[in-house]
C-alpha cells in the first residue's frame, strides 16, 4: 500500500504538470531536485569508486613489479602487458583470435539454444520425458564440460566439429533446464488463449510458448552463454586451432607472461561485454515490453 502511494508520488513529481505546480507551491520542487541529484550523484559515486579501485589495483601491481620481488618474465609490469595487448592488436593476431572464437561461440551457442529449447519444451510437456530424460539432464549438469573433450576428440578428431560439440555440451544443459522451467512457470492462460485463437503445433510454440517464456528463460540463456564461453576457451587451449584459448597457450609456450596476461584480460573483457551489454540490454528490453520493470 505504502509502496503504491510512494510510486504515485514519484509519478506526480516527474510529470510535466509538476513544474506548473512548482510555481504555485515553491516548497514542492525541493524533494524532486533531491531525487534527481541523488540518482546522478549515486552514479558518479559508483563510477568514482570503480576508477579509484582499478587505479589502486594497477598501482599496486606496478609497485610490486617495480620492487622486483619476482623476475619480470614471471611478473611483468602493467605497461609490459599493455604493450603485449597493443602488439597483439597491431599484428592482427588478437583480432583474428577474437573473430575465430566469437564465430565458434555464436555457432555452438546458437545450436545449443535451438536444441535446448526443443528438448526443454519436450521435457516440460511430457510426463514420461520429465521423469526420465529430465532426471538425466540434471545429473549430467554435475559433469564439468571439459570432460566432454576426450569424447569429442575421439568422435570428431581434432576438428572444428569437436570444438563446437564441446561448446554445445557446455551450454545445452543450462538452456534446456531454463526452457523447461520457463515453460512450467509460464502462466497457463497464454497457452489456452493461444490455442483458443487458433494456434497449434509449431505456430503455438513459435508465436506463444517461445515469447511467453522468454522472460523466464533469459537468465538461463545468459548462464548457458557463460558456460559455453568457458568450455570454448578450455577446448581451444587443448586443440591446435586459432582462437583466444590458443593465443593463451602460445603465450605459455613462448614463456611470454605478458601475452598470457594480455589474453586473459581480453577473455574477461569480451565475456563481460557480451554478458553486460547484449544480455542485459535484452533483459531490460523484455522487462520494459512486458511492464515488469520496477521503475
Amino acid at each position: 500500500m505504502s509502496n503504491a502511494i510512494s510510486s504515485g508520488l514519484e509519478a506526480v513529481q516527474s510529470s510535466p504538470s509538476s513544474s506548473r505546480q512548482a510555481i504555485k507551491h515553491p516548497v514542492n520542487p525541493a524533494p524532486k531536485m533531491k531525487v534527481e541529484e541523488s540518482a546522478s550523484r549515486k552514479f558518479l559515486r559508483s563510477a568514482g569508486r570503480q576508477i579509484i579501485f582499478y587505479s589502486a589495483l594497477i598501482g599496486l601491481w606496478a609497485l610490486l613489479a617495480k620492487l622486483h620481488i619476482w623476475p619480470p618474465y614471471l611478473f611483468p609490469p602493467p605497461w609490459g602487458v599493455a604493450e603485449a595487448l597493443w602488439a597483439g592488436f597491431q599484428d592482427h593476431s588478437f583480432w583474428i583470435g577474437i573473430a575465430v572464437t566469437m564465430k565458434r561461440m555464436v555457432i555452438g551457442y546458437g545450436l545449443s539454444v535451438i536444441l535446448g529449447m526443443v528438448l526443454g519444451l519436450a521435457v516440460a510437456s511430457n510426463k514420461f520425458l520429465e521423469e526420465t530424460l529430465g532426471g538425466l539432464l540434471v545429473s549430467l549438469q554435475s559433469l564439468p564440460s571439459i570432460c566432454w573433450i576426450p569424447l569429442a576428440v575421439l568422435w570428431f578428431g581434432l576438428t572444428e566439429k569437436a570444438i563446437l560439440f564441446v561448446v554445445l555440451m557446455g551450454s545445452l544443459l543450462s538452456v534446456t533446464i531454463a526452457m523447461e522451467d520457463g515453460r512450467k512457470q509460464m502462466p497457463k492462460i497464454f497457452g489456452m488463449a493461444g490455442r483458443n485463437l487458433g494456434a497449434s503445433g509449431f505456430r503455438l510454440f513459435w508465436y506463444v510458448f517461445l515469447p511467453a517464456s522468454l522472460p523466464y528463460i533469459v537468465s538461463g540463456l545468459k548462464q548457458g552463454w557463460a558456460f559455453g564461453w568457458r568450455s570454448l576457451i578450455q577446448a581451444e587451449m587443448i586443440f591446435l586451432s586459432l582462437g583466444l584459448g590458443q593465443l593463451l597457450m602460445m603465450g605459455r609456450d613462448l614463456n611470454d607472461m605478458s601475452q598470457v596476461l594480455a589474453v586473459m584480460i581480453l577473455i574477461i573483457i569480451v565475456g563481460y561485454l557480451v554478458d553486460g551489454l547484449v544480455f542485459r540490454t535484452v533483459e531490460r528490453r523484455l522487462q520494459n515490453k512486458w511492464g515488469l520493470s520496477a521503475a
Binding site: 502462466p187 492462460i189 497464454f190 489456452m192 488463449a193 493461444g194 490455442r195 483458443n196 485463437l197 487458433g198 494456434a199 497449434s200 505456430r203 508465436y207 506463444v208 515469447p211 511467453a212 522468454l214 515490453k289 512486458w290 511492464g291
Partner: protein, 307 residues
C-alpha cells in the same frame, strides 16, 4: 430508459424443460429503439450440449464428478448467462465448449457438428491476463487473424475496425500493461471479435474490475452484441450482472454441476443494474442460487472440520 409505467411483459418464468422451444418473440420493446431489431431465433440451436459430463481424479485418488449430464441449447444470437456458486464448474463448462478440454461423456455441438478441438468459431475471453504482454494492443487483436492466415492488408483493416468498435484506436501501439483493467478487457473483447467467432464465451470477464468500469463495459458489450449479432455465453457469479445482460439465465447447481433452473429475462433493453425490475428478477434467481451457495459453504465447513 423507459419508465416504470411500462408493464413487465412476463416475470421471469422457470423453464421446466431444459430444451426450450424456439421462440419467435422479439426481445426489443418499444422505447428502446436505439438498438435495431434482430432476426427472430432460428429453429436449429447454434450451440447444443448433450448430456455433457466431466469427472476427474483428485490428488487423493477419488473420482470427482464436476459436471453432471448438462443439457443446454443456445439459440443463434442469444445472450445466455450461466450463474452458480464458485466450484460449480461454470468455467470448466466454457473450456469444454471452447474445446480446450474434452468431456468425459456427452457431446458439444456447434451447428450440429461435434466439437473436438479448439476452433476460432468459439472464442473465449478470460477473467484477466488473457492478453499477450509481448505484443502491442494492435498485434493482440491481430493474433487470431494471423493464425487463420488472413492477408496482411485485411488483418490491418479488421484490427482497425474492431479497435474502433471498442474505442481504443489510439492505443493500437501501446502495450497491454500500459492500459487500465477495463481497457484491457476491451482489447480482449476486440481480439475475440476480430477472430470473427460464431460464439463468444466469456468467463467472468468483468469480475476483477471496479463497479463503474463494469457498468460502462456492460453498456458496451450490449451495444457490440446488438451490432454484431454474436451468440454469447457469459459466465458470472453475479446474478444482477446476469439479469442485466442475459436473454436467459441458467443456474448451475453446486458439485456436481447440473442445470438447476433456467430463467427467461424478458425485460426491455437497454437495461441498467439499478433498475427495480432487474433487482427483482435477480432477487428471484438469487433465492434459488442461495441454496446452492449454502451447499458449497457447508462443503467448505465440512472440509475445515475434517482438517
Amino acid at each position: 430508459m423507459t419508465t416504470n409505467a411500462q408493464p413487465l411483459i412476463s416475470s421471469p418464468s422457470i423453464a421446466a424443460d431444459h430444451r426450450l422451444p424456439p421462440r419467435g418473440v422479439t426481445r426489443w420493446k418499444a422505447g428502446s429503439n436505439v438498438v435495431p431489431l434482430r432476426q427472430p431465433a432460428a429453429t436449429v440451436p447454434k450451440l447444443e450440449l448433450q448430456e455433457v459430463s466431466l469427472s476427474y481424479k483428485t490428488e487423493s485418488g477419488e473420482r470427482l464428478l464436476a459436471l453432471d449430464r448438462i443439457d443446454l441449447q443456445v439459440r443463434q444470437g442469444e445472450f445466455l448467462c450461466l450463474v452458480g456458486p464458485s466450484g460449480c464448474g461454470k468455467s470448466t463448462l466454457l473450456h469444454l465448449i471452447a474445446g480446450l478440454h474434452q468431456p468425459t461423456s456427452g457431446s458439444v455441438l456447434v451447428d450440429e457438428r461435434p466439437v473436438t478441438a479448439p476452433g476460432t468459431d468459439r472464442i473465449l475471453i478470460f477473467q484477466e491476463h488473457g492478453l499477450f504482454p509481448w505484443l502491442t494492443v494492435g498485434e493482440n487483436v491481430e493474433f487470431g487473424m494471423k493464425m487463420k492466415g488472413l492477408p496482411k492488408a485485411e488483418r490491418a483493416e479488421k484490427t482497425e475496425k474492431y479497435l474502433r468498435l471498442v474505442h481504443l484506436t489510439q492505443f493500437k501501439k501501446s502495450r497491454p500493461h500500459q492500459l487500465s483493467g477495463g481497457m484491457r478487457q476491451r482489447v480482449a473483447l476486440a481480439r475475440a471479435l476480430a477472430a470473427e467467432p460464431d460464439v463468444l464465451l466469456m468467463d467472468e470477464p468483468f469480475a476483477a474490475l471496479d463497479a463503474q468500469t463494469r457498468d460502462l463495459l456492460h453498456d458496451e458489450l450490449e451495444r457490440i452484441w446488438a451490432e454484431t449479432g454474436r451468440t454469447i455465453l457469459f459466465v458470472t457469479h453475479n446474478v444482477r450482472e446476469a439479469v442485466r445482460l442475459g436473454d436467459r439465465v441458467v443456474l448451475l447447481s453446486f458439485r456436481p454441476g447440473r442445470v438447476k433452473t433456467q430463467f427467461e429475462v424478458d425485460l426491455p433493453r437497454p437495461r441498467h443494474l439499478e433498475e427495480v425490475e432487474v433487482a427483482r428478477t435477480a432477487r428471484e434467481i438469487l433465492d434459488s442460487l442461495r441454496e446452492e451457495i449454502n451447499k458449497s459453504l457447508e462443503a467448505e465447513y465440512a472440509h475445515v472440520q475434517r482438517d
